[in-house]
Structure formats: C-alpha cells, structure tokens
C-alpha cells in the first residue's frame, strides 16, 4: 500500500494501463514535453515516446473528433482536455459523435475513448475557466460520465474507463489533485472499480447526503461536525453520473427518510433536481421532509477569492441544510 494523492493515483492508472495495452495512447495539449499542465503525465514522453504521448495543436474539436475516429479504427485513445471548460468547444464531437456512433450504426462500432478533463472552480480563474458542467454531459445517453473523489476510486475507475469499449468522460476535480486531506491508501496490486456503481462512504441513520467529487469532502466535514451534535449522516458517493446507480441512495433513504444533495455545479437543473425527482418517484412513501440541495449558486464565477468561495458549497451550508430538515 502506498499513500497517494488523487493526482498520483491518476498518473499510476494511466502508466499501468499504457504498459499493459499498447493500443492505449494519450493525446492532448501539453501532455508530452510539458508533462501535462497539471503534471499528470510527467515523465510519460520519456517512457512511452512521441507516438503514444501526442502533443496536439490547440484544437479541441479535432482532438475529440480524431480520438473518436482513432477509437473506432481499433486503438484506445485517452484524449485530455486541459480543463473541462475547453471541452465546450468540442461538445459536438463528444456528445454528438463519440456518444452516438454505437447506437446510430446499430452496434457495429466500438468507441473506446477516455476524455480526461480536470474540472471545478475555486482557483480564482474567472468565469470561463471555473465550471463544473458535469451534469450537462451526463444528460446524453451513450456517454458515461465519471468523477472520483478519492485516490482509490480515481485509480480503479480510470482503469475501468480505459478498458471500457465506449466513450467515458473522466472528470478530475482539480481542487483535490494534491490535497493532503484527500491522500489515501491505494493498493499496489491490480484492482478496478466498476463504472456506474455508487458507494456508501459513511454510514449513518439520521440523514442521507448524496454527493460526488469535491462534494464528498465537504459532506464528510459536515458529517464530522454534525456527529458532535449527535446527528449521524450517511454519505453516498455517486462516483458515476451516467449511468446513475440509485440503488444505495434509495436503500439509505428508506432508512433515514431525509436527503440532502451536495454538488459543486450550479443548482438549477442540477444533479440535485434529478435525485429529488427519482426519490419521489421511487420512494415517495418514505419522504419525511423536503429534499434539500446544496450547490453552486447560479452566478458566473467571480475572480476575487472570497467572492468566488461565497458561491460554492461548504460544510456550513451542508450543516444548515441538514438541520433545516431534521
């Protein structure tokens, strides 16, 4: 066992999969000589060479589109967006092509791509570089959308994503990359974490908190504080937004009768809305209180640090939401 940061876990998964399967290669802006703008692929060019670690022009449409074509034609590309904000430029290639070729051509074509995209705000990068647009991508059938919150999950989910025969958007919360708090034991022996399976990260009986990514750590902090007051929160980490595994959510809700959804994307039309709708559909008789949402306020991210933080979820907001319904 080694104690890894989230970023180190991602790097390990990439390196191990590239060593395991010569059809796997990486393409993206600054992934080679620079070593990745977040240093995820540092040393890869030296180990795997230019054919397998491809610096691309600043051409997101072509990066995503060419990765799609290369995947259909028998390789397993990992296409990196420098940040998920730049994936907007490639939206058509991702949701209208990579996510469609299996269905539209009647299952004739595989499309094994991982689109890696660092995402999230809180880094004072301004309105255009701070999005958490995960839910938008999860709207479309045909694209799997995954976002890990722990180093263990990051490594296991990324390996599964690389081995999947279809397109997967793998969202990496930048705020967690090197966070010492997130550092965790990761086994050195081979393991994977299946896509589309939610996970109970903390057990409790008073309220169910449904979250993923950065939201997990805010929720864990909140749960710790609540426990001091005798309130035990159960925390479900969705891990995959598409396909969405509601099993553990429903199971927990039937025990607690109360739920708070915590997400770093904007509240309107967010994951919270989807989870609330499904809970009232599938567990209506168990609803004891309004299902609360803690999300990024509906405002473009401002630059100034304190102002930006004021728009994002935090433990205090989660605690307040829980107390409102207890």
């Amino acid at each position: 066992m080694a104690r890894l940061t989230l970023r180190e876990a991602i790097t390990e998964a990439l390196r191990e999969e590239m060593r395991r399967d010569e059809n796997v290669f990486i393409m993206g802006e600054e992934v080679g000589a620079w070593g990745g703008t977040y240093a995820v692929t540092k040393g890869f060019l030296e180990e795997f060479g230019e054919n397998r670690v491809r610096d691309t022009p600043i051409s997101e449409m072509a990066i995503a589109g060419a990765a799609t074509g290369a995947a259909m034609a028998g390789t397993r590309p990992i296409a990196e967006f420098m940040t998920i904000n730049f994936a907007f430029v490639a939206f058509d290639a991702i949701v209208n092509h990579a996510a469609k070729v299996s269905y539209m051509f009647n299952g004739q074509f595989d499309c094994p791509i991982v689109f890696r995209a660092p995402g999230g705000g809180g880094k004072q990068l301004g309105a255009t570089h701070s999005h958490t647009p995960d839910v938008i991508f999860a709207h479309f059938p045909g694209l799997k959308v995954v976002c890990p919150a722990t180093p263990y999950d990051a490594k296991g989910l990324l390996k599964s994503a690389i081995r999947d025969n279809g397109p997967v958007l793998f969202i990496e919360p930048v705020a967690l990359y090197t966070s010492p708090k997130v550092r965790d034991e990761v086994p050195e022996e081979e393991f994977t974490v299946p896509l589309g399976v939610s996970d109970v990260k903390r057990e409790g009986s008073d309220v169910t908190i449904i979250t993923y990514g950065e939201g997990l750590h805010v929720s864990l902090d909140a749960a710790k504080a609540l426990a001091k007051e005798g309130i035990e929160a159960e925390i479900i980490d969705l891990r995959s937004l598409q396909p969405l595994d509601m099993g553990p959510v429903i199971e927990s809700f039937k025990k607690t009768f109360k739920a708070v959804v915590v997400e770093f994307g904007h509240q309107t039309y967010g994951i919270g809305a989807e989870i609330a709708a499904r809970l009232q559909d599938e567990a209506f008789d168990y609803i004891d209180a309004p299902i609360k949402r803690v999300a990024q306020y509906d405002v473009p991210a401002p630059y100034s640090g304190e102002l930006e933080r004021a728009a994002l979820p935090n433990a205090d907001r989660v605690i307040a939401a829980v107390k409102e319904i207890l």
Binding site: P57, A66, H97, Y103, N106, Q108
Partner: protein
C-alpha cells in the same frame, strides 16, 4: 483500364442514379421514406472513381449525401433501400437512416449529418493506421460548404502536422445547401485552403471518372509512401436539390442543363465505352435493365422487411463490453 472494370464502373454509376431516382419517388410520391434525403445524382463519378482506387483496409468516411458511397463500397442496394425505409434489414438496422449508412466489414464508417464533424473522425482513422504502422489510408469526403467550418481547419492542420495518411476529397458541387461558394467562402478554390496547411492539392474534373480515378490513385500512393495528407477538389454538380423539397431557386437558369448536357458522368463513360472499347449499345442496355431489376428487387425486399422490433429500442446505447480486455 480493361473493359470489364469499365463496365463495372458503368454498372455502379447507373445503379446509383436509378437508386436515387427511385428513392425520390418513394419519398415524394409514396411516402415510404421520411426524414432527410440527399440525392447523389450528378456526382456518381466521384464515389465510384475514388472508391475503385482503394484497397481492402482503406477507410471510407463521408457526409450525409452518402448513398453513392454506400453502394460503391458494395453494400447491397436492398440493405441501403431498407435503411431508407427504416426497416430492420437496413444497413444499420433502421437506426441511422439516409444520412448514416455504414458497414464495418467494408471499413465504410458512415455517413455523418453534422457538417464537417466527420473530417475529424477521418483524421483519427488515419491517425490509428499511422499509430499501428500499417499502410492503410483514409478517404475522407465532404462538400465545399464544409470547408468553412472549424472542424475542417483543425483537422487539416492536425493531419498535416502529424503527416497522416488521409486523402481529403472535397466534392465541390458549387453550393452549400443554397448558398454559392462565392457568397460563402473567401477562397473560391478549395485547394487554396489546403495550401495554407501545406497539403498538396489538385482540382479534378469530377464528372470524368478516368480523371477521378487517376488523381485518387496518385493521392493514395503518396499517402502510402508516407508523404502525408493529400487534397483533391472534385469539380462536380448535384442535379437535384440539397434535399427533398429544395426547388433550387438559387441556381442561375440554364446552369443545370449545361452540366447535364455537356458533362454528365454516365454519358461520358458511355461514350468512351462505345467509341474506345467498341462495346455494343445492346450490352449497355442490358446493364441498364439489370439495374432496374436490382432496384425493383431492393424496393420489394424493403417492402417485405419487418420494422425494427420495439424491444430493441435500448440496444447498443453503449458498445458491448463482452470483448473488452
């Protein structure tokens, strides 16, 4: 070029034309085809002449005007027609329709409806071949209108930077939907756009199948020798509207007649066969009749075919992971 090959080309071109004429009727008169329908009439020499120059393993990818390419790669007319009619026996099981014909075994990756997007997919297919170290190439088709979208420029640049084995084939039929090149493109010659990316380009008479074949053979050869992407601008003309319901009011009077009367690709090949190869007129008539029968049978097959079963609605959203390693 031997006579048998030329007769085969003639057969393919006549098949495409009759197939398209029949599709038009099935759409407009019989209501059996719905949605979009983009006819290839007038441009037959491009699909047939270019695809004749490819070898097994070379990739074909094109835009939404794809019936000609689908027939030229050898998808049976019955399967193409069944797809237009949304039947389970269609080339893609009724899931894609007119714009999305494809055949994996023929490395024909489709028909794509979003202008320019598939140029990046084709670039990726060439990348996959270069990555694997094969000598396969990709033939990537698009219209003149697609040269104005970002995908085109990003893909040409990427293909040139990486020396990818791809032949960009611009089917210049003078109009992007109803807007002429002069109104839509600052550069009036599409090869000038390729030149900006240092990609060798050539304008070719796209109504002359011999010119088309010869230019494609040379371009493919250059790709196989590692000389990077090539660009062919096929000067051609679409006789029908952009899609069903387009009355082509944007065309100057007499323009269509001039192309059809003076440049028709089928008539050109016909004349060549009669004069240079001393083919008897009766032999060509026999091919024409055979094609009519082939198209009739394709319609009959499609009429008799079942619709896709409703319980297959959710099949293939994701590729199967049965063989994932």
């Amino acid at each position: 070029m031997d006579k048998e090959t030329l007769l085969d080309w003639y057969h393919q071109m006549v098949l495409i034309r009759r197939f398209e004429e029949r599709s038009d009727e099935l759409y407009q008169l019989e209501g059996k085809i719905k949605g979009f329908l983009h006819l290839y009439i007038g441009q037959e020499a491009v699909a047939v002449g270019t695809i004749a120059a490819r070898k097994k393993g070379d990739h074909i990818i094109t835009a939404y005007r794809d019936h000609g390419h689908a027939l030229a790669v050898g998808i049976p007319a019955s399967q193409v027609m069944a797809e237009l009619m949304g039947k389970a026996t269609g080339a893609v099981g009724g899931r894609g329709g007119s714009m999305h014909l494809a055949s994996k075994e023929r490395t024909f990756w489709g028909g794509y409806g979003i202008v320019g997007a598939h140029i990046s997919l084709g670039t990726g297919m060439a990348l996959a071949e270069k990555y694997k170290g094969t000598d396969n190439v990709c033939l990537c088709y698009f219209g003149d209108g697609a040269t104005n979208i970002g995908y085109f420029h990003e893909s040409l640049n990427m293909a040139a930077v990486w020396d990818l084995p791809i032949v960009f084939i611009c089917e210049n039929n003078k109009y992007g939907m109803g807007t002429s090149i002069e109104k839509a493109s600052a550069a009036h010659k599409m090869i000038d756009k390729a030149k900006a990316y240092k990609i060798p380009g050539k304008q070719v008479d796209g109504m002359d199948i011999f010119a088309v074949y010869e230019a494609t053979e040379k371009a493919i050869d250059a790709c196989r020798k590692g000389k990077g992407p090539q660009f062919l601008e096929m000067m051609t003309y679409r006789y029908e509207g952009h899609s069903i319901g387009d009355r082509t009011r944007y065309r100057p009077e007499g323009e269509l007649d001039k192309w059809r009367d003076e440049k028709d690709p089928i008539a050109t090949l016909q004349n060549h066969l009669l004069q240079e190869h001393k083919v008897k007129e009766a032999d060509l008539v026999a091919i024409d009749k055979k094609v009519i029968k082939e198209v009739d049978e394709a319609v009959e097959f499609s009429d008799d075919s079942p619709l896709p079963a409703l319980d297959t609605l959710f099949d293939h959203i994701y590729p199967s992971n049965a063989e994932a390693n």
